[in-house]
């Protein structure tokens, strides 16, 4: 062994960083903690600066999280994840490519991890492909809920008086273009926003919102009925509203019986 092994610790909670440093000092006196990072971005910067052999990364960190930081580091060091509980699918770790410890820290469990790290440092270099596979899996878990593709607009920012209100799209009844602006009519009132109806049509979830006229988009969940008129015309009636919104001929196909 040419030199003492060195480690980087990253956790956004200072007490936990300190505790980990103290425990490691007790279990592995030769290990030198060269730096402590408060988030993923700092972890990557400090790693590049010190290039330690071992990196302890809290998964849940602000900005760049632990998994994202690990992707930037993993092939160049032994990574150990820190996690509060198995919300990040401990089975991903069980393949053994990446080690992990759970908070609150257990000295016995940490001792096992230290032992494994010592063995790995002595024998095997990092198995890049296996590590990448685990990280891939973890990143997918973290993203869960986001789903593939573009996320739809869920909130509309509208100026009301001197405030900018955030209106959940499910409360919107309809949107109507008003020259440069768009009128948002929702259960709490009306407001003008500085965005075109065309832009909004692209960003709103098509399962919930439909354009029924060049200047009108309605929330389909608020539609009570569609009244057919003569000559290929129709009007839409919305929950709790008296006004009828006309459907122009080119959008009529939306309401053809399915």
């Amino acid at each position: 062994m040419t030199s003492r092994p060195r480690a980087l610790l990253a956790d956004d909670e200072p007490l936990l960083r300190e505790q980990l440093a103290v425990l490691l000092g007790r279990l592995w006196p030769e290990l030198e903690v060269v730096a402590q990072a408060r988030n993923g971005r700092e972890a990557i910067e400090l790693f590049d600066e010190h290039e330690p052999e071992i990196v302890f990364l809290d998964i849940h960190m602000p900005g760049v999280n632990g998994v994202e930081a690990a992707r930037a580091i993993a092939r160049r060091a032994q990574v150990v994840f820190i996690t509060a509980y198995d919300q990040y699918a401990v089975q991903a770790f069980e393949q053994g490519a990446i080690d992990y410890v759970v908070k609150p820290l257990d000295a016995q469990r940490l001792a096992d991890t230290v032992q494994r790290l010592q063995q790995r440092l002595a024998s095997a270099p990092v198995d890049g492909a296996a590590v990448d596979a685990v990280l891939e899996q973890l990143a997918a878990r973290l993203k869960q809920g986001g789903g593939p593709g573009k996320p739809w607009l869920q909130w509309i920012k509208a100026s009301v008086g001197s405030n900018v209100r955030l209106i959940p799209v499910e409360q919107v009844h309809y949107l109507r273009s008003d020259e440069k602006y768009t009128l948002v009519v929702w259960e709490g009132g009306e407001a003008l926003i500085r965005r075109s109806i065309r832009e909004l049509a692209d960003e709103l979830d098509p399962d919930r919102f439909a354009q029924i006229h060049r200047s009108t988009i309605v929330n389909l969940h608020q539609v009570v009925q569609v009244i057919r008129g003569p000559n290929e015309t129709a009007e839409v009636q919305l929950k709790g509203r008296t006004e009828l919104l006309s459907v122009s001929r080119s959008y009529l196909s939306l309401f053809r019986q399915m």
């Binding site: 909670e13 200072p14 971005r41 509060a84 739809w152 909130w155 405030n163 900018v164 003569p230």
Partner: protein, 362 residues
């Protein structure tokens, strides 16, 4: 695109006859029979002759009433159209009846005093009975509508009450987030292991938080004061965990602490501010809790200078639940508004609860 098929109303010929029921036809039959029986002695015609003609006129007028009622237009009130239809059609029916009776020989009618009198009798009966029947029908329809509306109101009220109960149940079974608990305990452990004197106050805050946040089965309402104490316990714990990233300030006039407030409502907003505002921010931020009286009502806010709201972040169930509970607690005038920014031109989010009155709804 999922529009229930039943909502897509194709305006077909059937719609013109909505309301045309066996009951309605039976009513016409009965009324005509009664009227004809009463006036039969005045006419030379047999009962059957009069009855069949009367029935025909009655049915025509009833049909006109139905069609006029189903005419979808926005120019004139519906009942105006219905009365007008009957008033116009009744004389027409009388004239046609006279023509048919004399096989088109109008002179015969005009030259016969009895026939002229007969014609006026028919005209009078058509108009009189037709109008009275129309008015009675309109009044009955309006009553039925009022009943239906009362029923709808009752249903709405019941739905609201059920939602309130659901929301209350959700609060009672609310769970402490395991992530929060384990991370906090990890901190306490770290303090104890290092023999820090701070361990005791942190444990006190945690116990205070747990005591308040664990399911409260009996009381679903607290006061603004007790809610503030809970929020402070939570923020104390969080600040101990991320001291470099969280500052907070609570500025609520002491006289407002006795105001009743739904339990856990304030904590929901504070937890949201930490979890979605401060925690994701590398530099952290500041949380400000405030309240002031506004007339009879109250405005309570929780602002943070964190990352702000991502317009494509799906709204969580916490805010929707809170909104329902506020409505159940204070009535439909209670609002929960989300405002962009920290109020000083910076990033962040501010949640405001606005109550028109602090009286709890009966």
């Amino acid at each position: 695109m999922q529009i229930p098929e039943s909502n897509v109303a194709q305006r077909s010929w059937r719609d013109w006859f909505a309301g045309l029921s066996v009951e309605r036809i039976a009513l016409v039959l009965g009324l005509v029979t009664l009227v004809v029986a009463a006036v039969n002695p005045l006419f030379k015609n047999t009962f059957l002759e009069l009855w069949s003609r009367g029935l025909l006129i009655g049915l025509v007028l009833m049909l006109a009433y139905t069609l006029a009622g189903n005419w979808q237009q926005t120019y004139v009130a519906r009942w105006h159209v219905q009365i007008l239809a009957v008033v116009l059609l009744a004389p027409l029916c009388a004239v046609i009846e006279a023509i048919v009776d004399t096989h088109g020989n109008i002179d015969a009618v005009l030259n016969d005093r009895h026939r002229v009198a007969g014609f006026f009798w028919v005209l009078f009966l058509c108009l009189g009975v037709g109008l009275i029947a129309t008015l009675v029908a309109l009044v009955r329809e309006r009553e039925a509508q009022a009943n239906a509306q009362a029923l709808r109101f009752a249903l709405e009220k019941e739905t609201l009450e059920r939602q309130a109960l659901d929301a209350q149940l959700r609060v009672m079974t609310a769970q402490i987030e395991p992530h929060f608990l384990l991370n906090t305990l990890a901190n306490v452990q770290a303090l104890v292991e290092t023999g820090s004197a701070r361990a005791a106050p942190v444990l006190r805050s945690l116990i205070g938080y747990l005591r308040a946040a664990l399911p409260r089965l009996r009381d679903s309402e607290g006061t603004l004061g007790s809610e503030l104490a809970l929020a402070r316990a939570y923020l104390d714990v969080m600040q101990m965990r991320i001291p470099d990233r969280l500052q907070f300030d609570i500025a609520v006039p002491a006289e407002l602490e006795a105001v009743r407030f739904p339990s856990m409502a304030l904590l929901t907003l504070v937890e949201n501010a930490v979890r979605h505002g401060i925690d994701p921010a590398e530099q952290g931020g500041r949380i400000e809790i405030g309240a002031r009286r506004e007339g009879e009502g109250l405005r309570v806010w929780v602002g943070d200078s964190g990352v702000g709201l991502n317009p494509s972040a799906p709204p969580g169930s916490g805010l929707a639940n809170l909104k329902q509970r506020l409505a159940a607690f204070y009535g439909p005038g209670a609002r929960l508004d989300l405002l962009d920014g920290d109020g000083r031109g910076g990033r962040g989010l501010r949640a405001e609860v606005v109550l028109p009155s602090t009286e709890r709804r009966a």
